[in-house]
Symmetry: C3
C-alpha cells in the first residue's frame, strides 16, 4: 500500500543524466505553454455542443468508455459486466458506479508503468487536484470528491475545453454524419472544432452493418445509392460538405494498406454484389484497396489531407464482441507491408503537390524499414505520430530513434492524441512534449544537434508540425 502523497514527478519522462535532464527541462519550459493542436481524435462533439453537458459520474468519465482500461482489467480476470459494460445477452451489468470505481481502484496497480497509468495520474492531479494515490483505501473518498467536482460548471466539457487551451480539435465523423453538432458549435463561435471525413463504414464492404450504413448515407444525401457511380458521387458530395464545415482531412482504416486501381466495371460489379450481399472472395480487399485510390484522387481534387490507419484486426475476440460489441479492448495489431502495397497509390498520386498523405501503423518494424524511407522520398507523405499502443514513453522513443534519422523531422506530422477520452488530452500532449524534449536534449548532449536548433525542433514537434500537416494554419 502506498503511503506517500500522489505526486507527479516534475522530471517525468526525462533522462536521469543531469545534463540531459536540465536541457530537457529548458526545452520543455520553452514550449509547455503553447496551445494544444488536436488534429485527429474521437471526442464526441455532442459533449461540447451542448453547454449543459456534463461528464456524469467518475466511472462514466474514466472507466466505462475507456477501452485501454477495460482491456487491462479484463486481461486480469475482471468481467466487463463488473465494470458496468452493458451486455447484448441481457446478463446484468453492474450499475453501482461507486462500486465499479472501488473495483477499479483496487486494481489500479495493474497500470504501473503503462501510459494509461501515467495519464490517469496526470488527470487526477492536474485536472481535478486529487492529491492522494488511488487505491482501495482512498477509492471512496476520491470518488465522492470527483463526483462533487464533475457536477460543477467549472468541470463541464465546455469549461475544460477552454481551460485546456485547445487551439483546434478535429473530430472523426461518419460519411453520413450531418455534422449538426459542429454546425451549432460554429454558430456559437467554436470554429476551432472541425469534422474529419471517415467513410470506413461504407467503403469497407465488411464493416459491421454495411447495408444500414449505406442507407444512412442515402438518407443524408437524399438519393438512392444503387450503383458504384452514385456511391462515388455521394462521397464527393459529402466531402464537399465536410470541407465547407471546416474539415481539412479525411481518415480511413483497414487491416492492410493494399491499394489497387479497379476499372469502373470491376468496381461496379463488386458494389452490385455488395448490395445483394453476395460478395466473392477478394471483393472486400480489392474494393477497399480501390477506395484508397479513389479517396486519394478526391484529395488531389479537393485538397483534404488523407490519413490511413492500417494494420489492426478489429474484434479479435468473437465471444466478447457478441456480448459487448466493438471498442472494448479486443483489437489486436497485425504486421503490415507498406512498400509494395502503397506503390500503386504512390505511382498515381505520390508526386502530386496537391496531395498529402499521413500514415499510421502499429508495426514498428516498418518504422525504419519502410515508413521513414517512404516519407524521406515522396513529397506527399508524412508520418503520423506513434499510434494507440505505441502512444507511450517507450513507443515515442522508438519512433524518434527509428524514424527521424531517415525521414527527417519535417516529414513527420507532429502529435495527435487520437482519443475519445476528452479529459486525457492535456496529459497525452504532456507526455509527447516531454519525451520529445528529452529526445532533443539527448541529441544535443551527444553533439548531434545544436542547442539553438533544439528549441526550434521542440516547437515544431509540440505545435507547428501538426498545424502544417493538417493545413490548420
Amino acid at each position: 500500500m502506498l503511503t506517500k502523497k500522489l505526486a507527479l514527478s516534475p522530471d517525468r519522462c526525462f533522462s536521469p543524466e543531469p545534463v540531459q535532464r536540465r536541457l530537457a527541462h529548458q526545452f520543455f519550459d520553452s514550449i509547455s505553454a503553447l496551445p494544444l493542436v488536436c488534429p485527429h481524435g474521437h471526442v464526441d462533439p455532442a459533449l461540447l455542443a451542448n453547454p449543459a453537458a456534463r461528464f456524469g459520474s467518475p466511472t462514466e468519465l474514466f472507466i466505462i468508455p475507456d477501452h485501454y482500461l477495460l482491456r487491462m482489467l479484463y486481461s486480469r480476470g475482471i468481467p466487463l459486466q463488473a465494470l458496468g459494460i452493458p451486455t447484448s445477452d441481457g446478463s446484468p451489468a453492474e450499475t453501482d458506479h461507486r462500486k465499479i470505481w472501488q473495483l477499479f481502484a483496487e486494481h489500479f496497480y495493474l497500470f504501473q508503468g503503462t501510459p494509461s497509468g501515467l495519464w490517469l495520474k496526470d488527470e487526477l492531479t492536474n485536472v481535478f487536484g486529487v492529491d492522494e494515490p488511488l487505491n482501495s483505501r482512498t477509492a471512496g473518498y476520491i470518488y465522492d470528491y470527483l463526483e462533487r467536482l464533475l457536477a460543477l460548471p467549472e468541470f463541464s466539457p465546455r469549461a475544460l475545453f477552454k481551460r485546456f487551451n485547445i487551439e483546434v480539435l478535429c473530430t472523426t465523423d461518419a460519411a453520413s454524419d450531418t455534422l449538426e453538432n459542429q454546425r451549432s458549435l460554429h454558430e456559437e463561435g467554436f470554429t476551432q472544432i472541425r469534422p474529419t471525413f471517415r467513410p470506413d463504414a461504407v467503403v469497407n464492404l465488411d464493416a459491421p452493418g454495411w447495408r444500414e450504413n449505406l442507407t444512412k448515407l442515402e438518407s443524408t444525401v437524399g438519393k438512392e445509392i444503387s450503383t458504384y457511380a452514385t456511391f462515388i458521387k455521394a462521397l464527393e458530395e459529402r466531402r464537399a460538405f465536410f470541407k465547407k464545415m471546416g474539415a481539412t482531412a479525411t481518415d480511413q482504416g483497414a487491416a492492410t494498406p493494399y491499394t489497387t486501381r479497379l476499372s469502373d466495371q470491376e468496381a461496379e460489379a463488386i458494389f452490385a454484389r455488395a448490395l445483394t450481399g453476395k460478395l466473392n472472395p477478394g471483393d472486400v480487399e480489392n474494393f477497399t484497396g480501390h477506395m484508397f485510390m479513389e479517396m486519394a484522387r478526391m484529395s488531389v481534387e479537393d485538397g483534404l489531407v488523407m490519413q490511413m490507419h492500417c494494420g489492426v484486426m478489429r474484434n479479435h475476440n468473437p465471444a466478447l464482441f457478441e456480448t459487448f460489441g466493438s471498442d472494448k479492448g479486443a483489437d489486436i495489431p497485425l504486421k503490415i507491408e507498406w512498400t509494395q502495397n502503397l506503390r500503386p497509390l504512390l505511382s498515381a498520386y505520390g508526386n502530386d503537390r496537391r496531395f498529402s498523405l499521413i500514415l499510421f501503423g502499429m508495426d514498428e518494424s516498418t518504422y525504419s524499414r519502410e515508413l521513414a524511407p517512404l516519407a524521406g522520398h515522396y513529397p506527399t507523405i508524412l508520418l503520423g505520430p506513434p499510434w494507440w499502443f505505441h502512444d507511450s514513453v517507450n513507443g515515442m522513443e522508438r519512433y524518434f530513434n527509428q524514424v527521424m534519422e531517415t525521414a527527417g523531422l519535417y516529414n513527420t506530422a507532429g502529435f495527435n492524441d487520437d482519443t475519445r477520452a476528452f479529459v486525457s488530452i492535456p496529459a497525452r500532449h504532456n507526455v509527447w512534449r516531454r519525451v520529445a524534449c528529452n529526445w532533443l536534449a539527448g541529441l544535443v548532449t551527444r553533439g548531434l544537434v545544436e542547442e539553438e536548433e533544439g528549441y526550434d525542433m521542440a516547437r515544431a514537434l509540440a505545435y507547428d508540425l501538426a498545424k502544417v500537416a493538417y493545413k490548420l494554419d
Copy 2:
C-alpha cells in the same frame, strides 16, 4: 592477454548513471536472497535422482553439452570433433578433455559481451571460486582446479541443488516418460522437482523418429495406439499421470503457432496416414495446429498450464545434423505471426478462466505488435520471458521496454532459465534480476513509477510472477 584478476563487477548490468545505479542496487539487494523458481527448463532429473551422480570433467560439465558454446566455437572454424562431440560417421572425436578445455580457453575471447560469457564468468567465480580469467595461459591450471572440486561431494548435483536455493525445478519430459527419476526424488522428499508434459515427439508428425516415439508411448500406456481416438486417450492418461507426479504445466514447440480445429474424421484420417508413413502436403501443419487445440482443451479440463514455444527452424544445417545430431547450435529462428494464427484457439478457449497459456517466441518484432496486445486483452494469456538467444542483457531490456507498457507487468510470467546447464541456473537468474532491477530503477528515476512500487515489482519479477503463472503456490 588479460593481466587482471577475474572479477565480476558488482555493478554489472546496471546503468552507469549514479542515481539509477544506486537505486538498482537497492532493488537488487531487496530480492537477491529470494529462492530461485525454475518453472521451465531442461535439467536431466537423473542428475539429481542419483545421490552419487557427479558432473564429470570440467569439459563434460561446461562444454560438451552446451550448444550455446558449441555454435559459437563452430562458427569460428573449430570442428565439433575437436570439442569432443561424437560423430555418427565414425570419424574420431577428441577424447582428451584437458585438451578440449585448452582449446576452449584459447577461444574464450569469442564470448566477450555475450550472455554465455557472462554466465560462465559468474559460474567460475561464484560456484567454483576461480579467481583468474580463463585464457590459454590459465586453462590448464583452472582445469585441474575444477577437476578436483568436481570430484568432491560438495560439488555434486545434489549438493549444488541445495546450495543454489532452488525452491522448485520443473523438468521437461516426453509424453512416454515413466518419470522414474521424479518418483524416486519425491520418495526421498525432493517434491520440489516436478515434471512437465512435452508431447512434441508424438504430436508433431514430422518429429524425428515419430513412429518409434509412438511405440514408446504405446509401451508406456500398455496399449496399442492405432487410431487418433486411442492416441488422444493415451495423451489424456499421460497428462493425468504427470499431474499426479506434480506437473503443473505442459509445453509444445512448433515452427509456427498456427492453430486449427479439425473434425474428428479429418484428424483420424491424418493420423492413419501418419501410421502408414504416407502424409499429404499440409498434414503435418494441420495436425500440429489441431493438437494445439486439443492440448488447450485438455488444459481447460485438467488445469495444466499450457506453454507454446514457437518460431524456430530446428536443424537448419543438414550436414551437421547428419554427423552430430540435434542440439548442436544449428537451430535458427523464424519470423512468427501470432494474431491470426492463435485466433482459432483463443476463440475457443481464450476467455475460459480454467485455461492458462504462456507464449514464447524469438521474433522480437511481435513483442509490441502482437504479444503484448494479446496478453493485455485475453485473461488466459501470459507472456514468457525472453527466450533462448534473447535471454541476455539487451534481450531483456528490449522485452521490458517493448512489452510492459502494453501488457502490464502482471500479464507476464516472470523468469525461467530454460537451461540444461544446471550449474548456470543461478547466473541466469542473477542476470534477469539485475536487468529487471535496473529497468525498474530507470522507471523510478524517470518519474514513471514510485520507488515503493519498484520494490513490489522487483519481487514480482524475481519470484512471485513465476510461481503464480505456473500454479506453484
Copy 3:
C-alpha cells in the same frame, strides 16, 4: 538562424554520462589514428586514376551525385531539376551551381539529426576548414571559398586520398568492366585500390538493359554468349581477371535472398528465354536464386569473398525513374526472410572452409532473429555493418545491441562506408568508430566487458575485422 560558429562537438556520438563518455574518449583516442580500410564502396576509380582529375564545383561535389541529399530535398517539395539533375524529357535543369548551392543551404536544416547532416558538417569542417554554419546567409560565401579550394591540387581526389590515410579502397565494378582505371593505378603504385566483381547487370535478368549489359560482357570476353554454359564460363573468366587485378570479393544485390539450385537444363532454358526476351513468371527470381548458388560455388573455387545486399525495391517511383533515372533516392527497403531463403545455399556451401559470405540487409527485425543466429552458427557467414539508411548513429547502436550478443564480435565484418561520395569517407568512418567506442564504453561501465578487452574490441571494429573479413591482410 544559427548565430554560433560551426563547431563539431568533440563529444559527438558519446553518451552524456561522464564516466562512459570519458572511457569512450579513451577508446576512441586509441584507434582514431588507424588507417581507413574501405573494403566496399562505390567510388569511381577514374577519379583517382587521372592525376589531373578535380571534383568540380561544390555543387558537383556535394549535391548532384548524392542521392541521400536529393531524396530529402525532393521529399520537401524541391524539384530535382532545381538541383541540377538532368532530365530525360528535355525539361530544363538548373545549371547555375551557385544558385543550386544557395537552395541547398536554405534547406540544410532538413538534415538536422540525420547522418547526412553529420557527415556534411564533418566534411565542411575537417576536410575544408569551413568554420561557419551553412545557411542561406553564409551559402554564397562558403560556395566561393569551397570553389577556390577545389581548384587547388591539395584538394584533388589523389591528394585527399593520401590525406585521408586510406589503406585500401575497393571499388565496385560491372562484370564487363575492363578495369583500365585500376590497371593504370596499379602501374603507378596504387595497388591498394582494388576492384570488386559485381555481376548484377547480367545475372539479374530484370536488370535495366540486361541485353546490352550482356553484349558488353561478350565484348569484354571476346566471345559470343549464346548459352547458359558460355555465360557461366564468361563469369568465371572475368572473376579470374578481377582476382588477378587485386579483387578479393564479389557483390550481388537482389530484392530477396532466395536461393535455389536449378538443373543445368532449367538454367539453360531460362537463359535461352531471356535471350529471346520472353521470360516466364518466376524465371527472374529462380535465375537470380540459382546464380547466388553459382557465385557461391565459384567463391569456393577461387576464394573470392561473396557479398549479398538484399531487400531493396529499386526505383519505387516510376515517374521519377522515367525522368531522372536510377539512384535519385527512390529506392525503398523491403522486409526480408533469410532463414529459409539461404538454406539451400548454406546446405551446399555453409560448412566449406574455403567459402566466406558477408550479408547485408535493411530489415532490422532480422538482426536478432535471423542474421545473428546464422552468423553465430555457420563458419562461413559474417555480418556486414549497418547498411544505407542504417549507416547512422542509431542504426549502429541498434546493430551493436541486437547483433553482438548472439553473433559475437568476431562474426562481424567491421565497417565499410559503401559510398560514392569520396569526400565523406573519413566522416563515415569517424561516426562508426565513435559509436563503436561509445558502445564498448557502455559495456565496460555496465560491467559486461573488461576495460582491457574494450581496447582490443575497439581496434577490431575500427580496423582488423574489415581486413580479415575481406582477406585484405
